[in-house]
Every structure is written in structure tokens, then in C-alpha cells.
Symmetry: C2
Subunit: 452 residues, 2 copies
């Protein structure tokens, strides 16, 4: 049988019953692609043998973390082997002298945070999926999160990787050294490469001390443009909040209709602003931010207790779940524009929504211009579905015109691959293909993600 | 004539007199390699035409900034064209809404800082050469600096690049968007690639608000190990200073013998610690650091005026210039070890110095484990020179045993290329070569730096 070698190697950690394969067939896109088998390695050596076998037999291999991705990056679109990293989930070291954690890729982001907290440390990348996404997946997609405005994204916090290449060879790239300029920076090339260049088996992560204190405020605006101006004004005033999120009018309505959270349904936009630092620092920053907000016509509410803070964040966190109640179809995009262009971009999405008669709900990370643009449609209505896709196409075009990117956090995967060249250009896509073939000449690693 | 096309294209900005070529023949390594001609483009289009020509005629091209490099990265070791970027030195935009500067590669780091200061901003990478090194060179070498312990290195502050490829095509990688996960991260691959993959013609740089205040202290130790322990203790206590520099006993002696700066010649090590932040924050941090230093047996001096601060930094800054007075030969290395291994590494260098009867002077960036290990020798004494190189070889070995890197800031260039494989391994060097040939099939870009 085709997979006998893997069965012998992994015993009960090799699965090929349909019921098992189904469990590894999906991600958060709700698309389903059945792998031919599932393997659950426990060591780098096992991963090496699996890839060696796959490479010799030209079988596709798709590495998976927790399958929380929004772009289909972890789907076995060409069948083959689903390589689940879930059993390689050990935190190998928390090095307090050097503020570095060494982890296996299957560690869930939030579990790492829990292990770090008693040491007064954290790993800054905090994708909204942090309770159910793995560090390996975070690295493969170069995940962001609300705190990216202050701390940057995953790539800024990965110092080194152990990876297995398509031919089964194991290499280490980067090191525990923050400064290391020996050779090309392959670690950074691998981060965000969506499992198409190698399989990550270990990661060296830079840690950061937890802030002494933090505080959250909510600012409500009758005018999206003034909300966007406020975002720019805060940054211009040299304050970098730890989160700077926004919720647009349509998103406010959606949440309020679903759960009566007491949100101002007449508002055009809400900003949720969190500052972190010493007790003195956050007081100073919050006062300045409050003045800026009021100057721009906002009503401001500062949280003075954990309960008040929770209630402010509730609105932001409830958007995604409540969206499902409006329509069963959702094109969940995460475009980015330079932060000064947010108001312009939101206005464009409103025009596009009108043009195609679809509902577009915007929310996201205003501080770094990252907008979750959700185009809602009824999947049973084929005309509406077609309009939704046309609207998405136009959203991407407008975003690129403003110097933006078609993806800030979710990755290209299968959902955005037709739009990649539009952003980066033909010559660059050619280079991508050549790089892909340099690392994976038989195209076994997550094939059909980087189109060849 | 061979270069007629370039002469026609660039007129008086094409140079081939020997006296002109000599001016572009050296860098800070004091090695000399004469280019066949020098070109001074003013636009990206000109760079594109120059590379196109060079690629068709298989002539080497070496891009140069200010030639301040310590590893020979900008030397025309195979002759060919010296491509000086000095006339492409415009700051094209300082975007205050997005905190991003767009610059040409020839802009001198310090000139950028001066232009940013009135806006209350700075570009964190601060190599010691900042007054005479260009942003293009900083990017090509992924330069660090004293502030790297808090802010990271050049790669952490470059968002996007416009580059010209070997065949003359112009591509843009990255964007003004802090979050951008579309495609492979070519910008990060190019940073630190020492001009071997492309020529940088424009850079988008992330800026940071200047700190409200800063303060410097000096801590003097009778025991290097306690100084190193202090470094770890500071970080363990969740304080990240903006600089955390050290000077070893031999370096103290060298400075004191040359300039009588009043340094304690009986001390085994000095730490120079700078903290940045709000006035409240730095007071709090300094108090904690002082306690840690005293607990570890140090004598502490806190600067209370700019003059006192200057006098503390003078010692650190005087090391390099005074070293020249000890011996005319210097192997100027910049090894890195995880910061917890600094004391062990320094001890090893002392043993190696004794073994080979050479003088080794150590100083550098303790906060990120980056040690400038200077092996001094008399160039006229061939035996001493041989011993110096043997000592260097052993320093690299010991550094790698401790999980270090052979270069933290200076790059591989020609001075460390024989040691690269020892650090990264044979398989990884193979990948480097394949990547080099993917981008530059005729090996015209800075040939002989990445050995093929």
C-alpha cells in the first residue's frame, strides 16, 4: 500500500480512516479538502522521515497547526498527507537570562502566554485566534493581532527556527542572538511562507516584559473621518497605544441588533484604545489621547475597573460571532492601508457596498491600517454571491490604489492567490516561483498555494 | 571601449581615471581593490541601465554607500564597476501620519536623524559609524548599534524597498504597511544580503518617537563575571535599557594609557547603561539598576548633566581610535553570544590571548551579547600576524560552541567568508548559493562575497 512506510513508522499516529481524515480536512474558511492520510509526528526526526518519503514518492504534504486559518493555507487541496504538528506541543525552555522561549510548533499561543505570565513575560503576537491557534501556524502565516500597533507582528519576535526541508534535511536558521548577520536571513524568508518552503519543527521566540499597567478607553464618533483623523493625531502626538481598534457603523449595528450591548447605534465609528506602560506613563498618555478625541468631537469613556474594560472590549470581540447571524456567506478580508488612508478606504467600501447591493461590515486594527472587511451574502442566492465576489475584487483594487496590501494577517492561502500578482507584480511572482522551486523542486510542500 | 555605453549614459558621472578609481577602492578594512570604473547614478532608471549593461556583458558591479564597512562588503574584489550611491541621497518624504520616511540609499544615517529631530522622531538603528555611513549600507549589512538592545537592528525598521535586480528590472518589495503578508518576504531576504542579490534604490523606514528623557550611568566592577551577571540581572528584572555597553579591563587600560580620562585602571570591567522613557520611568528604572549594580559589588556613577554624560560615554567612544596606537594590525571582530554567556566568552578570549601571545581588547554591546573582539598585532611581524589569525579562528570556534554568531553587525564580506559554513552548516550554504543564482544567474552582483 502507498503509505505503508508511514504506517510502520508512526503506528497509531498514522490515520487513514475517512472519519479521521475528515477531522483534518477543514480550516476556518469552511472549505473542505480531504487528505489521503494524517500523520502525527512527535519528533523532528519523524518529520524528516515523513518529508523524505513524500519527496521520493512525490506526494503532497501540508503541515497543520490548529486549522484556525482564514485563507485556506492549511488545506490539502491536492490531497496527500496532512502533517499535523499537534503532538509536538512542548515548551522546551523559557530562558529568563536571555528572554527567549524555545517551543515546538504545536504549542497553542495562549498556552505559551499562560506559561510566561508567572515570569512577568509575554510573547507579543496576539492574533484574535490565540486561544486556538498554534505558534507554528502563527509563524507560517506571520500572524498579527491587536497589539501589533505597538509591538509588531510575529516576524518581529522570531529569532530562529529549526526546519525540515522538502528533501528531509534538517537545518537551523537564526539563533538566540538578537544580532546575527551571518548569511542570508532564511528565518525571515520562512516566516509567512505558509508551509510552502519548509516545515517548522522548533522556534526561538523573543519575549517581552509584561507592562506594569494598562488601561482602556472607548471613543465614539459621529463621523468616521474624524475617527480616522484621531488615529493619525494620536500617532502624530508620539503616543503609540498598545491597541488602537475601530468598529464601523455597520459593525456597531450588527453587534447591537444581536446582543443589546448598549452601543450607540447612531455613531459612525467607535475607537477602542488601550495604553500600556508604567502607572505614570499611562495616565499621561490617556490624558493626551482623551484631549485629542474630544477635540475631534468624540464622546469618551475611560474604563476604571476590569468590568468596565471588559464591557468596552466586548463590542469589539462580539463582531465576528454576531456576523454569522446576518448571513451565512462571508468574504472575510483583512486588507491594510497606510493608517492615514483608513477613512478613505472605509468610504470606498461603503460606495462598493451600495454599488453591488451587499452588506460590508468593517472593523479592525486602525493603528496599523488593518481593516477586516467582511462582505456578507446569502450562499443560496447565486446572484448575491457573484456580487459579493465582484465587490471583493473592487475592494482589493481600491486598497492597492491607496498603497495597501490585500492581506495584513490572514495570508494568501487559496482565497487570495488570484490577487497576489495584482499587488506585487509579475516579476516578483516569478521570483517567488523560483524560490519555491529552489527549496522544493518536486513541489510537495503545500502545493497549489504558491502557483507554479 | 568596454565602458563606452556607461560613459555616454552618465557623462561626467562616469569616472575611469586611476586617481578616481583609487578613491573607491577601499573601505574600513584598509584593504584595497581597484574597480575598473566608477559610476554615480542619480536615478533608479540609471541604476537599471547600468545593471542591464553589466549583466549583458558579465561585468561585476559592487554597490557602495560611504565605504565605512568593516568586512570588505563594498570592495570590488573582482574589479568591474564601482556603483556609488552617493548622489542618490535625498530624503524623499517624512510621512508624519504614518511615521515613515522614504529615502534614497545614499542618505547618511546621521543626516536623516537631524532631519527627523525637529519632528520629535528618530530612526532607531544607530551604528557607531552613523555620521559616515549611509542608510543603503546600513540596510545591506543589517547594521546594529548601541540602541539595538531596546529597539532592535536595521531589519526591524525597514518596511519596504525599491530594488534593481541583476537583469535591470525594478521591483518594489514590502510597503508602507506594517502588516503585509502578501507573498514571500523578499525585503527581509534583501536586508543584510550585502549587495549580492540586488541594488537598493529606495527604502521605506519606520520611525519612532524620541524618548521624553534619557539618563546614563557608569558601573565599575572588579570582576567581569559580576559585570556580566549584572547585565543578566537587569534584563531579568524586566528593565530593557536603551543602551547596555561594556568595556573590559584591557580596553580600560588602552584608553587610560592614551588619554588619561580618569578611568579606574584596577577595574575588571565597566558597564555603561542608558535608560530612556518618561521622566518618571527613567527615575524608577535607574534606581532599580543602581540597586542591582551595587548588589553585584559595583561602584556606580549617575550622570546628572550633559557634561557628566559625555564624560561617561567618552571612554566607550575612545576605544576604537586609541587601539590604533597600540599596534598597526587589528582583527576587528564582532562576535555575538547569548547575553548570559558573555563572561564565559570574555574569559575564553583571555585564555586565547595568553595561548597565542597576542593582545585581545573586548568591548561592545553587552545588552545583546555583541562583543567587539579586537586582536592586536604588529603587521611587520609575520609570526605575530599568524598567531593573531590563529587566535581569531579559535575565538570563532568558542563563540559558536556557546551558541553564538561570528558576526552581529559587520557582516561576512570577504573577511569572514571562510568561517560562514562553520556557523550555518553545509546544507544552508548550498541554499544560499542557490538563492544567489536565482537572483543573479550571471553572478555580477558583488561577486566573490557569496562564494559559489
Amino acid at each position: 500500500m502507498k503509505f505503508d512506510y508511514l504506517k510502520d513508522l508512526l503506528k497509531e499516529r498514522f490515520l487513514d480512516e475517512k472519519i479521521d481524515r475528515l477531522q483534518y480536512a477543514y480550516d476556518a474558511t469552511q472549505k473542505i479538502y480531504l487528505p489521503d492520510c494524517v500523520v502525527l509526528p512527535k519528533t523532528t526526526q519523524e518529520v524528516s522521515r515523513i518529508l523524505s518519503f513524500a519527496n521520493q514518492n512525490k506526494v503532497p504534504v501540508v503541515a497543520k497547526g490548529c486549522a484556525s486559518g482564514f485563507s485556506g493555507g492549511a488545506l490539502n487541496v491536492a490531497g496527500g498527507i496532512a502533517l499535523s504538528m499537534e503532538l509536538m506541543n512542548n515548551i522546551l525552555e523559557i530562558d529568563l537570562d536571555n528572554l527567549i522561549a524555545t517551543v515546538e510548533p504545536g504549542v497553542v499561543n495562549y498556552d505559551l502566554q499562560l506559561a510566561l505570565k508567572p515570569h512577568g513575560l509575554f510573547f507579543p503576537p496576539d492574533p484574535s485566534s490565540w486561544k486556538f491557534s498554534s505558534i507554528g501556524g502563527n509563524i507560517a502565516e506571520n500572524a498579527g493581532g491587536p497589539k501589533a500597533v505597538k509591538y509588531g507582528v510575529t516576524k518581529d519576535w522570531v529569532l530562529g527556527l529549526e526546519v525540515v526541508l522538502a528533501d528531509g534535511s534538517i537545518i537551523n536558521v537564526g539563533s538566540k542572538n538578537v544580532k546575527d548577520v551571518a548569511g542570508y536571513n532564511l528565518a525571515q524568508l520562512f516566516i509567512g511562507s505558509e508551509g510552502t518552503l519548509c516545515v517548522i519543527t522548533k522556534a526561538l521566540l523573543k519575549l517581552h516584559p509584561l507592562a506594569q499597567a494598562s488601561q482602556t478607553m472607548q471613543a465614539t464618533f459621529n463621523d468616521m473621518e474624524l475617527a480616522a483623523k484621531t488615529v493619525s493625531d494620536i500617532i502624530k502626538n508620539k503616543i503609540i497605544p498598545s491597541s488602537l481598534e475601530f468598529v464601523d457603523h455597520q459593525a456597531i449595528l450588527t453587534v447591537e441588533n444581536s446582543m443589546k450591548a448598549g452601543l450607540p447605534t447612531d455613531a459612525d465609528a467607535i475607537l477602542i484604545i488601550e495604553v500600556e506602560g508604567s502607572v505614570f506613563q499611562i495616565k499621561e498618555d490617556l490624558e493626551k489621547i482623551e484631549q485629542i478625541c474630544i477635540k475631534n468631537g468624540a464622546r469618551v469613556k475611560i474604563a476604571h475597573s476590569i468590568e468596565e474594560e471588559e464591557s468596552i472590549w466586548l463590542a469589539r470581540r462580539s463582531i465576528s460571532p454576531t456576523l454569522k447571524r446576518i448571513a451565512d456567506g462571508k468574504l472575510n478580508e483583512d486588507i491594510v492601508v497606510p493608517r492615514s488612508k483608513i477613512a478613505e478606504m472605509i468610504k470606498k467600501t461603503q460606495e462598493i457596498a451600495k454599488k453591488y447591493s451587499v452588506m460590508i461590515v468593517n472593523f479592525g486594527h486602525a493603528g496599523d491600517g488593518n481593516i477586516h472587511t467582511n462582505i456578507m451574502y446569502n450562499t443560496k442566492d447565486k446572484d448575491e454571491e457573484e456580487m459579493a465576489f465582484k465587490a471583493m475584487d473592487e475592494v482589493f483594487n481600491e486598497c492597492l490604489k491607496l498603497g495597501g496590501s490585500i492581506s495584513g494577517e490572514h495570508g494568501i492561502g487559496i482565497t487570495k492567490q488570484d490577487y497576489l500578482e495584482r499587488q506585487v507584480g509579475k516579476r516578483t511572482v516569478e521570483l517567488y516561483k523560483q524560490i519555491k522551486l529552489t527549496f522544493d523542486p518536486n513541489n510537495i510542500l503545500n502545493p497549489h498555494k504558491m502557483k507554479l
